[in-house]
């Protein structure tokens, strides 16, 4: 399962088809995706009922935690981390949390703590495929063992500390406990994986693009790493925040910064420039799907094996509307090829889509966040 949060959203007029059903009328952005018509479902009219928070909405996009902008906001587990508890151990990396820059990420642990994202493709590549030499390997194995004894020992320390602090601090200490225990598990798993060699690949190690204004270049390079990770079955769960930013993207014809263009205020010149950026974003996404579709795994394409949720934490960036999120659900063996249009005035909870996806992954759940069921009209 892959989720992509296009942080600044998509201009709704260029995305939302006017007609629903299998013969939906295409739109400028969907025309970029036309070759995937039968591999994807367009879902409109969904959002998180207690959403909001403008750009901060990314925090609850995959968690459905209510009111992300409120001061007492408490986040909860994201769908990828929930899935990782079930299917994480089967791969070398239980999940990957990625972005294009900065510290924003859409993965959150059970405690609502953000999973730190990686924004450097070279680092992702190194983790996935590069090995140390044999002395290093031996040292690495010893290090993992030491790590476990250390974790075990500090758990004892934390227990002692627990007796000295009050209820509120015990909550903080719980985070420490959970983190240390999870680390023990990860070290154990790492020891097991350590014995197995990393996949041998002939992909070229990437050179990171340092210019953060190269919005599309950076996103595309990360998409490529995501494809490698899936193709080698190094992980089955990836979240990716495709960031916006306050810089002028290096796209011909674009003269203003991405974020202020997204607040176009219906200025046609701004919308025109924004369309250039967003079209390029759609093209980069299409290229990712193209790679997935052309790779095959056990007789079917990798795309058929992988659910890809392309969405945004914002429905209309111009007025920070968190409703009517743009959603494309591609691959994963669903019966695609239609536009599921839900009520734009009274949205379907996005969590319904999540429940359908999590069930497809084999999780035995019938509720997530604010869900009221699964998504109707989506068959496998």
């Amino acid at each position: 399962m892959v989720t992509i949060d296009l942080h600044l959203g998509l201009h709704p007029e260029n995305f939302i088809p006017k007609t629903a059903g299998p013969d939906y009328e295409s739109t400028p952005y969907l025309r970029v995706m036309e070759e995937f018509r039968q591999d994807m479902t367009i879902i409109t009219g969904t959002s998180h009922p207690a959403g909001g928070g403008g750009h901060l909405g990314y925090m609850s996009l995959l968690t459905a935690a209510p009111r992300p902008a409120e001061p007492n906001f408490k986040n909860s587990i994201s769908i990828d981390q929930l899935a990782a508890e079930a299917i994480g151990p089967v791969t070398r990396f239980s999940s990957l949390t990625l972005n294009t820059f900065g510290s924003i990420a859409s993965s959150f642990s059970r405690n609502g703590v953000q999973v730190p994202p990686e924004s450097r493709p070279s680092k992702v590549f190194g983790n996935l495929f590069l090995d140390g030499n044999s002395a290093e390997k031996k040292q690495q194995r010893q290090r993992l063992k030491d790590g476990r004894s250390i974790m075990d020992s500090v758990l004892g320390e934390a227990r002692a500390l627990q007796g000295r602090v009050d209820a509120e601090d015990r909550h903080k200490l719980d985070q420490y406990f959970t983190a240390v225990r999870a680390t023990e598990q990860r070290l154990l798993k790492a020891e097991a994986w350590d014995v197995k060699p990393k996949p041998i690949v002939n992909f070229k190690p990437p050179t990171d693009i340092n210019n953060i204004a190269d919005v599309i270049g950076r996103a595309s390079l990360m998409y490529e790493m995501m494809f490698y990770a899936l193709q080698t079955d190094s992980t089955r769960l990836i979240t990716f925040v495709n960031g916006g930013g306050l810089m002028v993207p290096t796209i011909p014809g674009v003269t203003q910064d991405y974020h202020s263009l997204s607040h176009h205020g219906m200025d046609p010149n701004k919308i025109a420039e924004l369309t250039l950026i967003e079209t390029a974003q759609m093209q980069a996404f299409a290229e990712f799907l193209r790679k997935l579709r052309s790779a095959s795994e056990e007789g079917s394409s990798l795309l058929d094996q992988t659910m890809v949720l392309f969405s945004s934490n914002i429905g209309n960036a111009s007025n920070h509307d968190y409703r009517n999120l743009p959603v494309i659900l591609a691959g994963g063996g669903f019966q695609h090829g239609q536009h599921l249009a839900f009520n734009p005035k009274n949205n379907l909870p996005l969590s319904n889509v999540f429940v359908s996806m999590l069930q497809r992954l084999g999780l035995e759940i019938d509720k997530f966040g604010s869900s009221t069921g699964t998504i109707t009209g989506l068959k496998t």
Binding site: N72, G112, S153, V154, V165, D169, S260
Partner: protein, 642 residues
């Protein structure tokens, strides 16, 4: 009236009537923490004042503004009541209530009412305030281990980035602990301990001293980019060519190197600036600025000396700032150039064993250390690592790890490393436990003197308290005002207090992300690397000036002076400022560059339009909490350790 500066780094609340007195914030903290003389919550706001002036509208069935003061309780332990009374206080203090259309009470009556009410509110606020068990952020983590062992090693990038709350990474509730954290701590402590305990790496030393014109790497460009004079000195006419490399003095090991350059101006009546960079430009690694140096016209050589950290394969490069004549390395060209005579580099300056190793293990021979040695080493370290006195039993779990490793036949160094790493991953090290002296629901909570010492140190040093501060705390001397004052003075004098300036301005004014955006080269052709460097320095220097001289906080809003050097003055179109040194300059009358709001760093950082920027500045810098007393939901600001 008090305007509350609701800023996490100040530990909550500072009345605006304080200047940013170097003691003010701390005295306030002390008042919060140790003052025993706070009155009990009084019987409630003066009923007489309320019934005469407020009940007319705010009581009964038809009360206005959803506020029924008659029915509003006076239990200030209840957060919603506390918030409502705070709002009542502020609206009256701001003369918004009673409204103009109504008869108003006399000033004396109002003052009396407000002073009674604010005393109760302040007291109640204190009893509500507590700090969350706070994790060290990654900057603090790095500083703390460096100070604990007396070593300089970059570690923070091994740890996950900290999330910000209200713009700061010092807020307990915002600093979560994820699974990535223990992994990061394991990795960081491993690197650190390995570095301290490693055997003599026998780092190859270099010492090169030549006339720069003899540098072989320059010969291909001799007569093209460079001119060689009869006296063997070299003239550089063009900067930023990436060709003026001191390549024969390439570092053979990581370490600190000392350098010396002779420089003069050539065919120039005006001073020039020499820019030194260090790095391995061949490997496309970004080079780091060593410094900008003034070269004033003179018959004599100007000798520039510097110390810089070089990684293996790094070397120095020299550029004349803003000289752009291309291909003028012949004798006919009459334009200005930078003349370089002799140049030398020597290093690494570090000797083995490093001080950190000696400090940690004393005279223990690591080749045949024993359990007793390990016990002595860990016992010495523990109270400093935990920033408090420890009991003899507390070392046992860590010692046990070392013992077990020894028993399984591993070397003493390896065994000791495991114990040391465990201390550095322990919650007592990573979290700032604040033990309370006494605890009761209605009383302000009082933390132990050692926890107080930690607060001061993390506030002003972004790091652990040093031995002196900790022992004063342990001896109970820190609650004596003169001792505390002397300590604060000492702490601010210490170069470590630069971290406070860097971290605070870095977050408050967004300087940390200053370089995240690139000005459009077409719109701002004058922007260059030097300006990028000094714009940030300007704002830090401005903050330091206010801190060092106890100036009023209002200077942040508007001052008749600025911290400038020649580059900044050129940028701001202010004449008469020469040289690289940033110093205080009195601004011409009517000049707008006083205060932080009009500084280039603040204006350019992160915002795509001046309007956005100003809005953010006002929000961040001058946040008023007059109508939003920190409440239970807003733990981020009220429950913050400095």
């Amino acid at each position: 009236m008090e305007i509350m500066i609701n800023n996490p780094c100040f530990g909550g609340i500072i009345p605006s009537s304080f200047s940013l007195d170097r003691h003010a914030a701390l005295l306030l903290l002390v008042a919060c923490l140790v003052s025993p003389c706070l009155a009990e919550v009084s019987s409630g706001p003066s009923q007489q004042f309320l019934s005469e002036n407020c009940f007319h509208c705010h009581s009964g069935e038809a009360h206005e503004g959803a506020l029924n003061l008659e029915k509003l309780g006076t239990d200030l332990q209840d957060l919603s009541q506390l918030n409502t009374w705070t709002r009542v206080h502020d609206r009256i203090a701001n003369r918004e209530m009673p409204p103009k259309s109504e008869p108003r009470p006399s000033t004396a009556q109002t003052q009396k009412f407000l002073s009674e009410l604010s005393a109760d509110l302040n007291h109640a606020d204190l009893t509500h305030r507590r700090t969350t068990l706070r994790r060290l952020n990654r900057v603090e983590y790095e500083n703390t281990v460096c100070d604990l062992f007396g070593i300089n090693i970059p570690l923070k990038d091994l740890l996950p980035e900290d999330s910000e709350t209200a713009g700061f990474d010092t807020v307990g509730d915002g600093l979560g602990i994820s699974t990535e954290h223990p992994l990061g701590y394991l990795q960081a402590s491993d690197q650190l301990v390995t570095k301290i305990l490693e055997p003599d790496p026998k780092a190859p030393h270099i010492s090169v001293r030549i006339p720069f014109s003899q540098e072989p790497a320059l010969s291909p460009q001799m007569g093209k980019l460079f001119l060689k004079l009869d006296d063997e000195s070299l003239v550089i006419f063009q900067g930023q060519t990436r060709n003026t490399l001191f390549y024969s003095a390439k570092a053979k090991a990581d370490g600190t190197y000392r350098g010396r350059v002779q420089a003069k101006t050539y065919q120039s009546k005006r001073p020039l600036v020499m820019e030194l960079q260090a790095g391995d430009t061949n490997a496309l690694r970004i080079s780091r600025l060593v410094g900008y140096f003034d070269i004033v016209p003179s018959e004599e050589w100007t000798v520039v000396e510097f110390e810089s950290f070089l990684k293996k394969n790094d070397y120095i490069s020299i550029d004349p700032y803003r000289l752009r004549a291309t291909g003028k390395g012949d004798e006919v060209f009459k334009g200005p150039g930078l003349m370089i005579g002799e140049i030398s580099i020597e290093g690494p300056l570090e000797t083995w064993p490093p001080a950190a190793r000696t400090k940690l293990i004393g005279d223990t021979d690591l080749r045949n250390g024993t359990t007793d040695d390990a016990r002595a080493i860990l016992t010495r370290l523990l109270p400093r690592a935990f920033r408090r006195r420890t009991t003899p039993g507390e070392v046992e779990p860590f010692l046990e790890l070392t013992e077990n490793s020894l028993k399984s036949g591993r070397s003493f160094t390896e065994a000791l490393s495991v114990g040391l790493q465990a201390i550095l991953c322990a919650p007592e090290f990573l979290l700032r436990e604040e033990q309370l002296l006494e605890q009761s629901l209605s009383q302000p909570r009082v933390i132990s003197p050692e926890a107080f010492a930690s607060r001061i140190a993390y506030f002003l040093w972004s790091s652990m308290p040093d031995d002196q501060l900790l022992s004063l705390a342990a001896d109970g001397k820190l609650d004596r005002a003169e001792v505390l004052h002397a300590e604060i003075e000492r702490i601010l004098q210490d170069p470590k207090s630069d971290r406070f300036i860097e971290n605070f301005t870095g977050q408050w004014l967004g300087l940390r992300s200053f370089s995240a955006t690139e000005p459009d080269a077409k719109l701002f052709p004058e922007f260059d690397e030097m300006l990028r460097f000094y714009l940030v320095e300007e704002t830090r220097a401005f903050f330091a000036e206010i801190l060092d001289h106890d100036l009023s906080l209002l200077e942040f809003v508007d001052s008749n002076w600025a911290m400038l050097n020649s580059r900044l003055a050129l940028h701001y179109n202010i004449s008469g400022v020469f040289g690289q040194q940033i110093r205080r300059v009195t601004l011409p009358p009517g000049n707008v560059r006083g205060g932080v709001l009009t500084q280039g760093s603040v204006l350019s950082c992160r915002f795509s339009s001046p309007a956005q920027c100003n809005a953010a500045c006002v929000r961040r810098g001058f946040q008023q909490s007059t109508s939003e007393t920190p409440n239970g939901d807003d733990r981020s600001s009220s429950r913050v350790a400095p």
